[in-house]
């Protein structure tokens, strides 16, 4: 390889390095919401989700809707139901950035937070 070519290769390697360091963008909350929805859908394809009660026992907080659902139902199938699939927070979060919903422990709300 000629000296010129080596020099030029080195220049471009440095450009690549500096361009990579030139700031990183956050993923839009809209995209995070869609990622979460598709992952949970994929998880459901191979069987039931962990129940809400088990999630709570693992130390995770439930949102107001999940809390209500968890208290009203006891069957495992119902407990494993993905409440988010019928929740307006999911629909809004998948289409807009930082939706004005403030429920605690709602993943779709959390994705919009800085």
């Amino acid at each position: 390889m000629s000296d010129n070519l080596q020099h030029e290769d080195r220049l471009f390697e440095l450009l690549a390095q500096q361009a990579d360091e030139a700031g990183s963008e956050r993923a839009p909350s809209r995209l995070k919401a869609k990622l979460y929805t598709s992952l949970v859908q994929k998880q459901q394809e191979s069987g039931r989700l962990l129940t809400l009660a088990e999630s709570r026992a693992n130390g995770h907080g439930l949102c107001v809707f999940e809390d209500l659902w968890s208290d009203l139902t006891s069957a495992e199938a119902a407990q494993s139901f993905n409440c988010c699939s019928v929740c307006h927070a999911r629909v809004l979060a998948e289409h807009w950035e930082a939706v004005p919903i403030y429920w605690g422990h709602c993943p779709y709300v959390a994705f919009g937070k800085k």
Partner: protein, 223 residues
């Protein structure tokens, strides 16, 4: 992979139990920041158990890293970014059982992302044909002092990204693949079914067009 999981509950429970025994507990740990944060292995174990809350944490924790990487690697085609990030996370879920914790989960995910990005490059370089008219003659300067100076002052990053956006896609892809992903000419040639010489010529034209744009963009400021 997920289809196999239905009958693997016991095996998975054993795996999780082993992990829990090895790590002591599956409970949330107190991080140095004072917030509860699961370790990578605990998080993976919980996602594999299909704990939706852990899955949300998985997305919240790693989406920015993966998105940032893909966005920088797909500079000329931002319209592909969301779909590719989605593919990466689905592939991660489908292979999550293979995560052993030898490297951080972030690195493991970026490894998947790198494969997906290279698949994208391969596909694009095979699909797109460079338009000859996009190339124009240019009297290359004898030295690239200004370019070198910008690099030395660490001020070249932003402008490099802007120029990559304006290059024909073939050129930006070949530059990204060679210098950002650090792939050899031979590797690229094999992947796209061209000769090494052919790739070298393409790369030389790409570098020249990049430099041309660098100097064109600089001209008004100098005048």
């Amino acid at each position: 992979m997920p289809a196999q999981r239905a009958g693997e509950t016991n095996a998975k429970s054993d795996y999780i139990n082993q992990m829990n025994q090895g790590l002591g507990t599956c409970q949330a740990k107190e991080s140095s920041a004072g917030t509860n944060q699961l370790s990578d292995q605990d998080l993976v174990a919980e996602v594999l158990r299909k704990d939706r809350k852990a899955t949300a944490e998985f997305v919240a924790r790693y989406a920015n890293h993966v998105y940032g990487y893909v966005r920088r690697r797909l500079i000329p085609r931002a319209d592909f970014v969301d779909d590719l990030v989605q593919e990466i996370f689905i592939a991660a879920w489908e292979n999550l059982e293979k995560f052993r914790g030898d490297a951080p989960l972030r690195s493991w995910l970026l490894g998947i992302a790198r494969h997906k990005v290279e698949d994208h490059y391969r596909k694009r370089l095979r699909e797109i044909q460079l338009q000859d008219e996009e190339e124009s003659a240019w009297d290359e300067p004898a030295s690239f002092h200004e370019l070198e100076e910008a690099i030395a002052k660490r001020k070249a990053g932003q402008r490099t990204q802007e120029i990559l956006k304006t290059l024909p896609e073939t050129y930006s892809v070949i530059l990204l693949w060679r210098y950002w992903e650090k792939r050899s000419l031979r590797d690229i040639a094999v992947q796209i079914g061209k000769t090494e010489k052919g790739v070298e010529r393409m790369l030389a034209r790409a570098r020249q067009q990049f430099k041309k744009r660098w100097y064109e963009r600089q001209s008004p400021a100098r005048g």
